[in-house]
């Protein structure tokens, strides 16, 4: 069991290293030059050279890479090209908002998705089942920005129920601030859950249907256990495993979705920071953001792995 955990950990570190390396070189393969964006209009070649050396872009690319890895190991993410502040400061001010948004979307998807998937499987062909199948497939085809704009137009602009943009009204204090927070969170959260929920419930339903046909379920039923117990204790535990894995994998999509969601909803998270930094070619910020995202996804997968180990005795050796 320890060996299993150790090998997972090694793989996690390897994955992060690969992600860091790929990000680093991809950015430098871009045909565009970050120094060109700093000054609009007149810029002398001397100024451009000075900027290149300030950014460290005048060194050979391998040397830049080694320097960067060296910094990274010490926990230093570098300084933003454009904002002249440490990247870690920028990320730390944005990360809580992304954690709140993506985290609550994740939890909400599980909380609604599990009962929905189970109900669909148990009542096959029923109303819930048909709804889950329909939304599961359509949601896969939804494009987050379109959903977001639609929600904003209907619930923000036309009905005026929700504020447009931002994460909180900074002038509120105490309980009112929490209310304002939830008020601002509602629409972006809803759009993320809407896109995630269908596919998740659908996967769970498929697994559940399969598991419900297994011999041990039949035998459990024949032992006279209640329907409820058979479904929730015996079947779900096995059906939820692959669905859990899926959720771990989908965390990447969730965060990718957050880039678009946060941009359209003007939500101040890491996703929007990425969007802005891409436009400004702020390499250190992009690298830092991708390191954080890679670590988050890898950690989540590590957790799901360990969790499945707890749930599935077959992995324990």
């Amino acid at each position: 069991m320890l060996r299993y955990a150790a090998s997972r950990l090694f793989r996690a570190i390897l994955t992060i290293w690969i992600a860091v390396t790929v990000t680093f070189f991809l950015l430098r393969l871009l045909p565009a030059d970050p120094t060109l964006l700093v000054v609009e209009g007149d810029m002398t070649p001397e100024m451009q050279e000075a900027l290149r050396s300030q950014y460290g872009l005048d060194k050979p690319i391998l040397q830049q890479y080694v320097l960067y890895l060296g910094q990274l190991v010490q926990g230093n993410l570098g300084v933003s090209f454009r904002q002249l502040v440490p990247v870690s400061d920028l990320l730390l001010s944005r990360l809580p908002w992304t954690l709140l948004l993506a985290g609550s979307a994740f939890v909400l998807t599980l909380l609604i998705g599990i009962p929905l998937g189970v109900q669909a499987a148990v009542g096959r062909g029923g109303l819930v089942d048909r709804a889950v199948q329909f939304f599961g497939i359509t949601a896969n085809a939804l494009f987050i920005p379109s959903v977001a704009i639609l929600l904003l137009v209907v619930f923000g602009s036309n009905l005026g129920w929700f504020p447009i943009g931002q994460a909180i009204d900074p002038d509120t204090r105490g309980l009112a601030a929490y209310a304002s927070l939830l008020h601002h969170l509602a629409l972006p959260l809803f759009s993320l859950v809407l896109v995630q929920l269908g596919p998740y419930a659908l996967t769970l339903r498929t697994n559940m249907v399969e598991v419900l046909g297994e011999d041990y379920i039949t035998s459990a039923r024949s032992r006279g256990l209640t329907h409820r117990r058979v479904v929730w204790r015996h079947a779900l535990r096995n059906a939820v495993l692959p669905a859990l894995m899926l959720m771990g994998l989908q965390l990447g999509t969730l965060i990718g979705g957050a880039v678009l969601t946060e941009t359209v909803f003007a939500y101040p998270g890491v996703g929007r920071l990425i969007f802005e930094s891409v436009q400004q070619l702020d390499f250190p910020v992009l690298q830092g953001a991708f390191v954080i995202l890679a670590v988050t996804v890898v950690l989540a997968n590590l957790l799901t792995d360990l969790l499945s180990m707890a749930l599935n005795p077959r992995i324990r050796t």
């Binding site: 070649p45 920028l90 504020p163 900074p170």
Partner: protein, 548 residues
């Protein structure tokens, strides 16, 4: 294993709650996110109105000596005063300087400052601040202002309100360029910062403009407070007490926020496609503002075929500017001829004859010059060019298609490369194009424009023609040292005509910008041309009054 699922569920819920609380806890304390200035706090001021402005991106850099992004400039221009400002007719008018004079045949330029500007910490604004600012920019070669100060050999503070710049040679628009672009910073703050090029200036701002930055919450909003001492505010001080910039990266969301009343003014111009729907909203007013730049086709004369003046003239004849303005800009633009925008009324060039839109005539012109269609495909041999444009400019990508189709009629094949903005910039800077379809942002005076775009030494790095024409160099250099105003205007007009005849570029249009605001709440903006200035200059905001 009994109850594992239940445990997981409970753990999940607990985690969710914990995350929520932790996150909100820290953001409600605004730990690290917000930096505030010394005075005031964010308590609601009694009586003063709050105007909320939508911006598209966070501030990048709070150092006014460095920062050059458009959205940063909106906030920094309000906080830090300039010597001159540009009024609604694109004329330079007094701001911190009440006037400027020249001495010694134009080699000494003297700014005379007002005596009633004051930094927000109570220190008066003096000539020393101006001298310090210019010296710091020259020492560290900061931003685009460094290029405006190229000629300076000495700065002399004559008294508290008089500062003189000695130039290596006379340069007619020196005072206008420096006066408009150089944001003056307080010496007593910036000199303590050590290396000003590395000074972040990200808290406790001390300004002397109409509105002074007070707090910044990255990712969310920037709050500015009215400067009660701003001399150009109406009697009794500015009616808008607080200006808040709120970040909306997506312009569609910003439009919804305006309709919804979450903001009062869009700092960004309204896209042509959204004008009609906003006009129909009775709460929303729209102001039309001119531009200090223009859209153009610029020909790379290093290309062996484009080096031929006849080819460039023929290309100018396949561009139907009138119908482009009518259809693509929906009439919201002005036609121009030659490289100097009609907004500079002093350099009126209406006697220049525009190239007619005449693809058949263009073809005849080319055939007359010896270009033939050897393989009979309808395209004249050698007349195939690649035109690059910035994909994010919706108007220009449509112009590209129109020009391509009209050019084909004249036997010219244009291949379009409308590409991602950053790639586009890299290619134009690298000279990797035959034709550059793009839009100049802000030229505050024609002389600077002609120097930057046509001198073979390419001092501003934007000679996108890559032209190296000794005759043109001589014309530009001669005009630059002409001190007599009348002669100066004549020489500029001469260059205008020369470039027009050479057809180095085909100007397309001077775009009008449309700014939308809540007319049911505020009125009285005094806009200046361009989307750099627009509705949001400190001067304009100080004139605004709430609608009762």
């Amino acid at each position: 294993m009994k109850g594992t699922i239940g445990r997981i569920r409970r753990t999940g819920a607990a985690l969710a709650v914990a995350t929520l609380v932790a996150v909100t806890g820290c953001s409600l304390n605004e730990g690290g996110g917000e930096s505030t200035g010394g005075s005031g706090g964010s308590d609601e001021q009694a009586g003063g109105a709050t105007l909320r402005i939508g911006t598209t991106t966070d501030m990048e850099n709070f150092n006014p000596l460095q920062s050059l992004s458009k959205t940063d400039s909106w906030i920094l221009n309000a906080t830090y005063p300039t010597l001159l400002r540009i009024d609604g007719n694109a004329q330079k008018v007094p701001e911190l300087a009440e006037e400027y004079t020249t001495e010694a045949d134009g080699t000494v330029v003297v700014f005379h400052l007002r005596d009633d500007f004051e930094w927000s910490d109570g220190t008066p604004v003096t000539a020393k601040d101006v001298a310090f600012t210019a010296q710091a920019i020259m020492d560290h070669q900061l931003g685009n202002v460094a290029a405006k100060l190229t000629w300076v050999t000495g700065i002399e503070v004559r008294d508290d309100h008089t500062v003189a710049f000695t130039l290596s040679e006379p340069y007619a628009p020196f005072a206008e360029g420096v006066g408009f672009w150089m944001r003056i910073v307080p010496e007593h703050i910036f000199s303590k910062a050590g290396d000003v090029s590395q000074f972040a200036n990200d808290s406790d701002w001390v300004g002397a403009g109409a509105y002074i930055l007070e707090s910044a919450t990255k990712g969310q909003r920037y709050v500015l407070k009215a400067n009660e001492n701003y001399p150009y505010a109406p009697e009794g001080g500015p009616a808008v007490e607080t200006v808040e910039y709120v970040v909306y990266p997506d312009v569609n969301t910003m439009i919804l926020a305006l309709r919804n009343g979450d903001i009062d003014l869009m700092g960004t111009p309204v896209p042509v496609s959204a004008v009609a729907s906003l006009e129909s909203d009775e709460n929303i007013a729209i102001e039309t503002v001119g531009s200090l730049g223009f859209a153009h086709l610029t020909y790379n004369v290093q290309h062996p075929v484009l080096a031929d003046q006849t080819v460039r003239q023929a290309l100018s004849m396949v561009v139907d500017t009138e119908s482009i303005i009518e259809t693509i800009l929906q009439g919201d633009g002005e036609r121009m001829v030659g490289p100097i925008s009609p907004i500079f009324a002093d350099y009126d060039n209406s006697d220049l004859e525009p190239y007619p839109f005449d693809p058949a005539g263009a073809r005849a012109l080319l055939e007359g010059a010896g270009y033939t269609d050897g393989d009979g495909d309808g395209i004249l041999d050698d007349l195939t060019f690649e035109m690059v444009c910035d994909q994010s400019n919706a108007n220009l990508t449509r112009v590209a298609e129109v020009v391509r189709d009209d050019a084909a009629e004249a036997g010219i094949q244009i291949d379009l490369a409308c590409i991602e903005r950053n790639t586009f910039l890299a290619r134009t800077r690298g000279g990797e194009y035959d034709i550059d379809l793009s839009q100049w942002g802000v030229f505050d005076n024609p002389m600077d424009q002609l120097r930057s775009t046509y001198l073979s030494s390419n001092p501003g790095g934007i000679n996108y023609n890559l032209v190296a024409d000794p005759e043109l160099d001589a014309l530009v250099n001669d005009a630059a040292v002409t001190a007599d105003p009348e002669q100066f205007v004549e020489k500029i007009k001469g260059i205008d005509a020369y470039v027009h005849d050479q057809a180095l570029l085909t100007p397309l249009y001077v775009e009008n910008f449309r700014f939308a605001y809540r007319g049911d709440r505020f009125t009285g903006f005094d806009p200046s041309p361009s989307d750099l200035l627009g509705m949001v200059t400190g001067y304009s905001l100080a004139q605004v009054t709430p609608v009762d």
